[in-house]
């Protein structure tokens, strides 16, 4: 098996004179999670639509191979290898969850008994057994998304496309979804995931590509990308001006904000880094009133990768 699960070269797509994808290369080895990261309108959904055979790329695009099958000549073979969960729920709202699942089993040509067994197993696994007899249109957002993924898995796809699977979900459903996605790869599948959250890509993906204006701005592991991005820092705030001054004296390299009585130290937000800061404060007998850790987020990634400057925004991720 030398073929990667997904291989696309010079992928292009434009609608009229608006270029959505301007020649991107993607290679995803089997059994890994790959994340395409980008803001709304970056072209993530278009990339998924093309790779999943829903829309065709521009004629001057390079070859695309999915599961070793050329999309231009063997789209139907590629379709047999993939499963897709789009950004907008791909369930039939008029029929029940179980009927949706059995519909998938029929379309995958599973024998009746096997179809029922697979469906029952997936409904159980995705915690949908109790709601199986209700119309899918009555499901909550998280349930619809789970049903959507369960339907995708009926045929046992080797390559799974998930387009923003957690957008619009509450934090609990999001964590459930992350667990589900991790399970998929332990079963040997390849996952192609799009997201606008750096945190999500960081949690799940083996490799991340940042899509910006239809081009890949950077590609690498989460760690590699974060190293490209300055902007991680620790912010210490004091109420006592004396404490503030002595802290500033101990922590060299800290940027001072005399008005707010705040110090800002470059940091990767790691445990070791934080401990060294705290140790130095302890040694000087100073106590900060507030400590916040700012980690680079998607905005920082973009400002860095697209040649802008990281703006000094008041936004902080409090941990």
């Amino acid at each position: 098996m030398t073929d990667p699960a997904i291989a696309a070269y010079g992928l292009r797509k434009s609608y009229g004179d608006r270029t959505v994808l301007d020649g991107i290369d993607l290679t995803v080895p089997e059994g890994t999670i790959f994340s395409l990261l980008g803001p709304n309108g970056a072209g993530k959904t278009t990339a998924v639509k093309i790779l999943s055979t829903l829309v065709s790329p521009d004629p001057d695009s390079g070859p695309i191979r999915i599961g070793g099958h050329d999309l231009a000549t063997h789209a139907q073979d590629a379709r047999a290898a993939i499963g897709v969960t789009g950004q907008f729920s791909a369930v039939d709202g008029l029929i029940t969850g179980e009927e949706n699942m059995l519909l998938m089993a029929d379309l995958h040509h599973l024998p009746r008994a096997e179809g029922q067994r697979v469906v029952a197993g997936l409904l159980e696994r995705f915690d949908l057994t109790a709601a199986a007899g209700k119309p899918a249109s009555t499901y909550s957002g998280g349930m619809k998304r789970r049903l959507d993924i369960a339907m995708t898995l009926v045929g046992g796809p080797r390559i799974i496309f998930l387009d923003e699977p957690t957008t619009g979900l509450d934090p609990r459903s999001r964590h459930t979804m992350w667990g589900i996605i991790r399970e998929l790869v332990t079963d040997g599948a390849t996952v192609f995931l799009t997201t606008q959250y750096l945190e999500e890509a960081d949690e799940l993906a083996d490799r991340i590509a940042v899509l910006h204006d239809g081009r890949i701005a950077a590609e690498g592991t989460a760690g590699e990308l974060k190293r490209l991005v300055p902007g991680g820092h620790v912010r210490l705030r004091f109420t006592d001006p004396a404490a503030y001054r002595s802290a500033a004296a101990v922590l060299d390299g800290a940027a001072r904000d005399d008005e707010a009585l705040a110090l800002r130290l470059p940091s990767d937000g790691g445990q070791r880094d934080l401990r060294s800061v705290l140790d130095r404060l302890d040694a000087a007998g100073v106590e900060a009133d507030e400590l916040t850790v700012h980690t680079p987020d998607l905005d920082d990634v973009f400002f860095t990768l697209t040649g802008g400057v990281v703006p000094d925004r008041p936004k902080e991720n409090v941990r």
Binding site: R79, G86, S89, L94, D106, H108, H109, G155
Partner: protein, 261 residues
């Protein structure tokens, strides 16, 4: 699996899905059934005495016999509006995008809609026909063969207009637009020979009524059920059905094969 059994299997799966929709949500079809039934009751029991004078004498039951063929064809026009609406609604559902990324027979999605719609329309025709019979409609001189021919004619017309409606549904951005676009299908029977004979219409209007698909179909159905002169109308109807079916099929397929938005 070779491709023919695959196509058949997927098509029957899609048909089952469409029939399930129709069974769960029969209100659309039943609402559309109201129009022809109301018109039938109105024209026979309220306008019947006056209208029957216009077709050369006779009483209400003569007028019932005169308009029932037209009402049956109007039932087809009315029911396929529902087809256009449900196709348009369905195409906006994410599930269709899912079907497009699956290794299934592509034509099966439209096939399910078309066959499902034809079956629903036939059901509607039986209901409206039963209302007519309950009101006193009796065929004159029609044997089993004529009844079968009449049934076959109605099915062919249904198939033709269903394909047109599917094309309309695929070309409409939403359900409201689909409903508006399909409106002519219920208006055309009103300006045919359904309610009054062609020669009672003003001369300038007659060609409009004459050269449209419903008039020859109505005349053929009258001939089969009531023994009136059919003439060329049978062949003209078959030609219309064939042309509309081919046109609707080509149009629908071209629309469906386009990349979705």
């Amino acid at each position: 699996m070779s491709s023919l059994p695959l196509a058949m299997r997927d098509s029957s799966t899609m048909l089952r899905r469409n029939l399930l929709h129709a069974r769960r949500y029969p209100s659309l079809t039943l609402n559309l059934l109201l129009t022809p039934v109301m018109l039938l009751l109105l024209f026979v029991y309220v306008f019947g005495d006056t209208m029957s004078a216009g077709i050369g004498g006779g009483d209400r039951s003569a007028y019932l016999a005169y308009i029932l063929p037209g009402i049956l064809l109007m039932t087809i026009g009315s029911t396929v509006i529902g087809t256009a609406v449900s196709v348009s609604t369905d195409m906006n559902e994410g599930i269709i995008a899912r079907f497009r990324t699956m290794a299934i027979h592509r034509g099966s999605i439209l096939f399910g809609h078309v066959v499902g719609s034809v079956l629903q329309t036939v059901g509607s025709l039986v209901l409206v026909g039963a209302v007519g019979v309950a009101m006193g409609f009796r065929s004159s001189g029609a044997g089993v063969l004529e009844w079968l021919a009449a049934f076959g004619l109605l099915v062919l017309v249904t198939l033709a207009f269903t394909w047109i409606a599917v094309g309309m549904g695929l070309s409409s951005p939403n359900a409201e637009a689909a409903s508006n676009n399909a409106m002519p299908l219920i208006l055309l029977p009103l300006i045919s020979s359904a309610f009054v004979p062609l020669d009672s219409m003003p001369g300038w209007f007659r060609p409009i009524a004459e050269y449209q698909p419903f008039t020859p179909a109505i005349e053929t159905l009258r001939g089969l059920l009531l023994g009136t002169e059919i003439g060329n109308n049978g062949w003209i109807t078959l030609a219309w059905c064939l042309a509309l079916t081919v046109l609707g099929h080509r149009w629908s397929k071209a629309r469906f094969d386009r990349d979705p938005e």
